[in-house]
């Protein structure tokens, strides 16, 4: 791989050879691990979705911790959160901290129920559950399509994270198409190959390396960098000055140092809306359902906040960069705030450590990209292929379709990033967050009650999506004049700014409740329910669990190897 790269980049300015070598070596290590992962806690064969797409449903507490940590705290998060802090301040960036704290009490409440009912009935996706709960193909399709569409730009953004690193190392700005995109292409072909062969086991194993590197880099950065740039008082002072300075284009302050009156709702709704949305994404559900017992996910809810602490420190590195005077300028010569963290590392650390930091971000992109593509593929296979195209598909056929779909999904993401402006991926990601939150009532409320009517849930979903998309379109970036300029809009009737996904969600809720009331009063049939109250409490080893594999070696909490 390195031999192939050298001629493409030779002679360019600003190429950091040592950092690149470290990056390539670490990348090769995880590639080997990815292929070897197919033997990790291996079942009889990989020829079913339970095995390929859910790792045999037997990851214990620690594997799940690494897998979910690697899944939720993505490379894009690690690039975008400090970038938002750097460019626009705490309302835009630091909300990620309360978001990833309140996330855990919220999922504690309902994810165990989702795990149990899915375990009992062999559900692989949330749309499977909705299908079983209401016997409604329409509602199930709505949930599946929303999940699928919302995941696609998320995968694309992982590539943006890798690109940011390659850009700072000095790769990717070459004149011709091949020199520009070859590194990303190679990285993705390798990722696609080992995801295809190892399924969910590949990201599970690579996540150990990814999270180890991330913790190492952040801890070193947070101890070393502040002393280098005058201590935290100095850093917060520099950030406060930058955020208070008037932006010449808008005539308003550059950003927010600490939320002031009028920004409280924005901060709170961004945190709450994002927290409620995160576990509606297929990749979060996939990582949860792969755990071996009902308690694994709840135990994880109390140990996963360790990542939130790291994320908070990382967010503050965006402000360290302000004090350090970091100039994030791409290989193409244009300023790009997304490069601020890689650039800070490049400027402040010796090359070899910068290489480790870059590898942490690049590998950090591979884990979620793999899980997301598997989750999107599972959704396609179960809820579109099997439901609408081949209802008699066998388990082996399902696994095969899912493997191919995971390739297609990744190829699509790659084309998306290489051919379209990055801003499109970011816009779609913003929309994806709004859309996915609209599936919350159909999934979470249905875990508790069937009072909500399937048609009301569908109508609420549709209203939420249409309103959210329209509201997001109407947000114009004051600097560029473009639509989809952010996630905050005035909350109707309140006057303060708020997260549009939450406004859409409230509207969704009102429609759902009113229509449910009307449809129930009119005694319109609400489908049949294949689940029973006891299913929502089923645990590992439940005697009644349907199994398509004759194994039950679960209960091993230790990662084998």
């Amino acid at each position: 791989m390195s031999a192939a790269l050298v001629p493409l980049v030779a002679g360019k300015d600003g190429l950091d050879g040592v950092a690149l070598a470290v990056l390539i070596v670490l990348f090769l290590v995880v590639t080997v691990l990815g292929f070897m992962a197919s033997r990790f806690q291996r079942g009889d064969s990989l020829e079913s979705l339970d095995e390929w797409g859910l790792g045999g449903r037997k990851f214990g507490t620690w594997v799940t911790w690494f897998l979910l940590g690697g899944d939720l705290y993505t490379a894009y998060t690690f690039v975008a959160v400090p970038a938002a802090m750097f460019a626009a301040g705490s309302v835009a960036g630091f909300f990620a901290v309360p978001y990833t704290i309140i996330l855990y009490p919220i999922i504690f409440v309902f994810m165990a129920r989702l795990w149990s009912v899915s375990h009992r009935h062999g559900y692989v996706t949330t749309a499977d559950f909705v299908r079983g709960r209401y016997d409604s193909r329409a509602l199930s399709l709505a949930v599946a399509v929303t999940g699928f569409v919302a995941t696609m730009p998320y995968i694309a953004l992982q590539l943006v994270g890798i690109q940011a690193v390659l850009d700072v190392v000095g790769l990717g700005g070459g004149g011709n198409w091949l020199a520009k995109d070859a590194p990303l292409l190679i990285a993705f072909v390798l990722l696609a190959a080992y995801t295809y062969t190892s399924g969910l086991r590949a990201p599970a194993v690579i996540a150990f390396v990814k999270d180890g590197l991330i913790y190492l880099v952040i801890i070193v950065a947070v101890i070393y960098l502040p002393s280098k740039f005058g201590g935290w008082t100095e850093i917060f002072g520099a950030a406060q000055d930058k955020m208070a300075a008037t932006n010449p284009t808008t005539g308003k302050p550059t950003g927010s140092f600490i939320p002031v009156s009028g920004q409280m709702w924005a901060y709170a709704t961004l945190a709450l809306g994002s927290a409620m949305a995160l576990f509606m994404y297929p990749h979060s559900v996939t990582a949860t359902l792969s755990s071996d017992s009902r308690t694994t996910i709840r135990r994880n809810a109390s140990i996963l906040p360790a990542y939130s602490f790291v994320l908070g420190l990382l967010a503050l590195l965006g402000w360290v960069a302000i004090a350090a005077g970091t100039k994030p300028i791409g290989v193409d010569g244009k300023p790009n705030p997304q490069l601020v963290i890689p650039q800070l590392f490049e400027d402040s650390f010796p090359s070899w450590f910068a290489g480790i930091a870059f590898a942490a971000v690049a590998i950090g992109a591979l884990v979620p990209a793999a899980i997301m593509s598997i989750a999107a593929a599972n959704t396609f296979t179960r809820n579109i292929y099997k439901e609408w195209i081949r209802p008699d598909a066998t388990h082996a056929q399902e696994a095969q379709v899912s493997k191919v779909a995971s390739l297609v999904v990744k190829a699509f993401a790659l084309v998306f990033v290489l051919t379209l402006d990055k801003q499109n991926a970011i816009n779609f990601q913003l929309l994806g967050g709004i859309w996915i939150l609209q599936t919350f009532p159909a999934i979470v409320f249905s875990l508790y009650t069937r009072w909500f009517h399937k048609w009301a849930l569908l109508a609420g979903w549709a209203v939420g999506i249409v309103y959210g998309t329209y509201a997001a379109y109407e947000i114009v970036n004051p600097l560029t004049g473009k639509h989809f300029g952010g996630s905050l809009a005035e909350i109707p009737g309140l006057g303060d700014m708020g997260y549009v996904a939450m406004t859409a969600f409230v509207l969704n809720l009102v429609v759902t409740v009113v229509l449910s009331f009307a449809l129930n009063a009119a005694k319109v049939a609400n489908g049949s329910d294949e689940t029973a109250p006891g299913d929502y409490f089923a645990d590992a080893g439940d005697a009644r669990v349907e199994r398509n594999r004759p194994v039950l070696e679960a209960g091993t909490d230790q990662p084998a190897g």
């Binding site: 705490s90 630091f94 901290v97 309360p98 704290i101 309140i102 855990y104 009490p105 919220i106 504690f108 409440v109 009992r120 009935h121 062999g122 079983g132 201590g231 935290w232 008082t233 100095e234 850093i235 917060f236 600490i258 939320p259 002031v260 009156s261 409280m264 901060y267 709170a268 945190a271 709450l272 308690t295 709840r298 135990r299 809810a301 109390s302 140990i303 906040p305 360790a306 939130s308 602490f309 908070g312 503050l316 294949e530 689940t531 029973a532 109250p533 006891g534 299913d535 929502y536 409490f537 089923a538 645990d539 590992a540 080893g541 439940d542 005697a543 009644r544 349907e546 039950l552």
Partner: protein, 102 residues
Amino acid sequence: MAHLHRSGGTDGASPSEVPETNKTLLAVAGVLLAIPVVALLWVSSYARESPRLWGFPFFFWYQFLWVFICAGCTYTAHRLVLAARTPRPGVGAHRGDEETGR
């Protein structure tokens, strides 16, 4: 701690059977889970600069502090929920009562 009957590992769990639950313990767990959510969504209670800690404005160190408080609340809630529910009948048994739901 009232109404806690252990039904033990009896077999033949009916699908409609919900494990016995101690409602008091569940309610306490619910309160523990609600505390961090309410505290962090009440932004105006902590959106200020002082008192500072090691150079960190209050706004920042206070939220970092909640990472630990929230982890503690969630873990306690986890223990409470485990204590509140009788183990499900049939758990751990390798018994198949030939029920096919789908």
